[in-house]
Symmetry: D2
Subunit: 320 residues, 4 copies
């Protein structure tokens, strides 16, 4: 059955990531990833990728542990924002309006059923590059850094959840996404998903839920940054190697969604993915959710790499 698109959420805006090692994490995002600092406020550093039209892509906050504090989604219009807030309130998961971060207007905070904090906003100042960051081409917000990995954009967030099903339902039904692919586990007692991939537009996914084998709620599996090419990811692997950044698995191609990937842990412990989808897009308005069985999943990744064991256990903050 096709899931339909509501188009009220335009895209993933930015995330706030927590780190117990703020200096080392900042080194990772600036020197290894090649992102630039927009501002520092209190315990938080605001960072951006070079093709983000908004002010920032990542808020890095010093904290007692790792994890994700909040995930921001941009609505498609003021009306779309109101519609979604109403839907969230009806679902009983609203928290309330806040002032918004620098460059961002009124923001509505809520949680998903698993307890991950999200926020929704529409008003957003477009980024204007300072003199030394002016791009050569005017259809690009900031110059290409040519340093470290230099990803184009924050691409998606993958949450761990005690139960995947209700969270996927929430993002689909309340936020208006569609489920492009999912893993259906063998379970005689209930419908149980290993993971579900959700999309707000033509990207094949923007938000993912993966089952947390520890049964904990509200944890992060990873955040992902998109590179322009698969070669960028091969180079990124060299850069991680030279910088002593832990490579968990990859580069390889996912069977699900066919994304080319590399997974590393930033110094604070959060898993970071570098991903490249080639030019794959979901254009069909009546896209049919692709459901993978446990047996299909057991075949591993596209070219045969076994899914790494830590993929099911490592999340942030760590547990037990």
């Amino acid at each position: 059955m096709a899931t339909e698109l509501v188009h009220d959420i335009a895209h993933l805006g930015h995330v706030e990531l927590l780190t117990p090692t703020p200096e080392r994490s900042l080194w990772f995002f600036t020197e290894v990833m090649g992102m630039s600092v927009v501002s520092t406020e209190g315990d938080s550093v605001y960072l951006r990728t070079w093709d983000d039209y908004e002010r920032h892509s990542l808020v890095l906050t010093a904290h007692g542990s790792s994890g994700i504090r909040r995930t921001a989604l941009r609505a498609s219009s003021e009306e779309a924002l109101k519609r979604r807030v109403a839907a969230i309130e009806q679902a009983g998961l609203g928290i309330g309006w806040t002032e918004g971060r620098p460059g961002i207007g009124d923001t509505y905070v809520f949680t998903d059923p698993d307890g991950h904090e999200l926020e929704l906003y529409y008003a957003s100042e477009w980024y204007t590059a300072p003199e030394d960051q002016q791009p050569a081409l005017k259809n690009q917000p900031q110059r290409y850094p040519g340093k470290g990995v230099s990803p184009r954009r924050l691409d998606h967030v993958n949450f761990l959840a005690a139960q995947v099903g209700p969270n996927g339902d929430f993002v689909r039904d309340v936020l208006g996404a569609r489920i492009t692919e999912q893993i259906l586990l063998e379970d005689t007692e209930r419908t149980r998903y290993g993971a579900r991939w959700l999309s707000f537009g033509n990207k094949s996914y923007d938000v993912v839920y993966t089952e947390d084998w520890t049964g904990t709620r509200g944890r992060l599996h990873h955040i992902a940054f998109a590179t322009d090419t698969r070669e960028d990811i091969l180079r990124a692997a060299d850069i991680m190697l030279e910088n002593g950044v832990f490579i968990e698995t990859g580069p390889h191609k996912h069977a699900i969604q066919q994304t080319f990937f590399l997974y590393v842990y930033e110094p604070g412990g959060n898993r970071i993915e570098l991903c490249n989808p080639n030019t794959r897009l979901i254009l069909a308005p009546d896209w049919r959710t692709v459901t993978w069985t446990e047996a299909e999943r057991a075949k591993g990744q596209a070219w045969g790499l076994k899914t790494i064991e830590s993929f099911h256990t490592h999340g942030t903050p760590p547990v037990g």
Copy 2:
């Protein structure tokens, strides 16, 4: 000023291309491009790229001259189809309903102000690959051919028009696209565009209008196929060279839209582009049209290649 998205048109569906040399053109699309034949009906051969979820991407029709007969757009739903047909009829450019091609349901035919024929449909059978074309991964409609250029999808259509402005307005206002980039020419008498790029979703463009210096109406500048990587386009250039296919210009990177490109003429004379956008997408719901001046345009392509002269004169069918 931001142009807003209506989302009633989901994507470019397929095009009907005319060729005076049907055998040679078919050789080009199957042996050089690596596309596969779905069926042959009368003077038309139905062809497809490997990642098209619909039945076909290209209808190649034997004809007295080259050119494009019709461009098909898929609506987002039955309701969206009705809404757009009403808008087209109100604009006075409707022709009427037809039965639709194989695999496609009821179809509404109309023209743009310049006279290019278009069609709009919603009902569409999903492609089921025959036994020998079954893909290894179930989230892909057909196996990757690994032969010739092997592009992923039909990407966009670029029309020549006697006047660019009104055609861009029509696609924006009547079909519900947004203008992502455009060239504004110096003209003391009227607002005159050299070209306008229009998008229905997150792709940076789906339809383009370029000024026809001959003043003729209804001609084709090119149709474009998207490859997964820029390397695919470098390889494509080798393949064109080995097969004696005329390379007009490229590979290089466009300044406008930043697309990596290669332009060739298929044996029937129609210009074919191979394009790769890296992972660039238009995610901003309030995207601000990028307007290039004549002076900016005169700088040539992104890395300095001068725009080739034939770009302004070669169209199909040829004129005088």
Copy 3:
């Protein structure tokens, strides 16, 4: 200590591979790899890669089992050929002169200490492409096929040997290669190498010996074909997947020699590597052999992939 180059061996010429499934193996080399058939003689099919200046790169021979029958090396001149034959005879490993294969002149057959059969020749007819294989550029022997993997050349042979040390010594001392890298195992009783990589010119290796854990003699670990880019290898992985060819491991980057690799089994059971060295070359005339310890080796490949277990056990022909 630097190993010096004698330059009497110019390069690896071709190999004769044995297969118990000749039809399926031929399908693999022509349809999946995109190599072309030069001739068929008796039980053997002569095949070539597109950038081989000689007549053929691979002789595929129907046989009761898999494995490598013979490896051919081209001498640098008639005098170099004579010098090496004298050295081989002095080493007591000569077999004698034969007539040579089609396109190849007088050939001297011998074995390495482990019993692998090799041959040495100088006279070699340059390949002339038939009409339908004429390249567009005259500095290329044959047109680029644009079909399947389309590797540029046969790159190297990796032999399994009961004892690696003496075989590496033989190729270095008797044939005049240098050992560019090697693995030194921990062994309290004797100097024992896990593997040694030998080079005749600027390529970082042409012949490799790897320890056969089964203690068998004369077996093949793999033959390797070089592609132009790493992207070619990522594409090759897709092509293998679509064609149901078993992928053993990769794509990934070797720590030793830094080669980007993909290992598959052709239908006859022989392991085939697709390799890409980027532009790495051994230019130093006083190159210092890089020796890896067992502990260093235990770290796995460059980006952390564990060396696959079958790498130490799968060879052809199979044993017990």
Copy 4:
């Protein structure tokens, strides 16, 4: 007719480049190219690429004008050095022994017939990376910088010469190279070459002579640095664009030698090429010089790009 290899010259060692804008040129080589500084002595800065096993690849010297002061070649052994010095002295082009640069032993200085200064040495200290430049893999001399273009090595030098023929003869006959490709011009009075490409080993060329249309002697056409991939060169074009470095032509593929190229001018005016040969090597010991006619050359580069006019006129130092 095949030209044979003597193997007395191992490879191009380093070059001394002159610049009238030393600060800007140093910015180019460190910030844009991503090379690292080894030392500064007087008016010269010693720089290196990350995969150079020797101490330095480039000596950048402040001077009244641009150009190349000296090109250093490393001999294959002390004996090879003596043999070549004897041959040079016999040719009457020797200048004499000098002490050698930092890290380099006794060095013999001479000129080619056109007057370009060259030097020959054997003794060379291997580079040892400081703590912060230690590579992760021990078969690499220095860590991969991941900054700017980051080329692997200095690849070749292309000299302008009033007459190409005698200079190619000199490098072939006196230094022991072979001519892998050349352009033979139409001239009724004498044998006249447009350019000749010479190789000392398996690389397809190390030194090139191109005819100087101004008739001046001793000028530089360009020096070239090799990148690992063609993608690296596409990225380099973006980096040049962002940094305001003048791109003369490319990226494109040369018909001759099939090298993928990008030409820029460093701020001092010297032309710099970024080149990638894919995995093409000259392995044939009896390689047959490929001779291109003027008519063949007129077709332009491999994929049709016309050879840029400044290619025949821009050299350093500039003339009248």
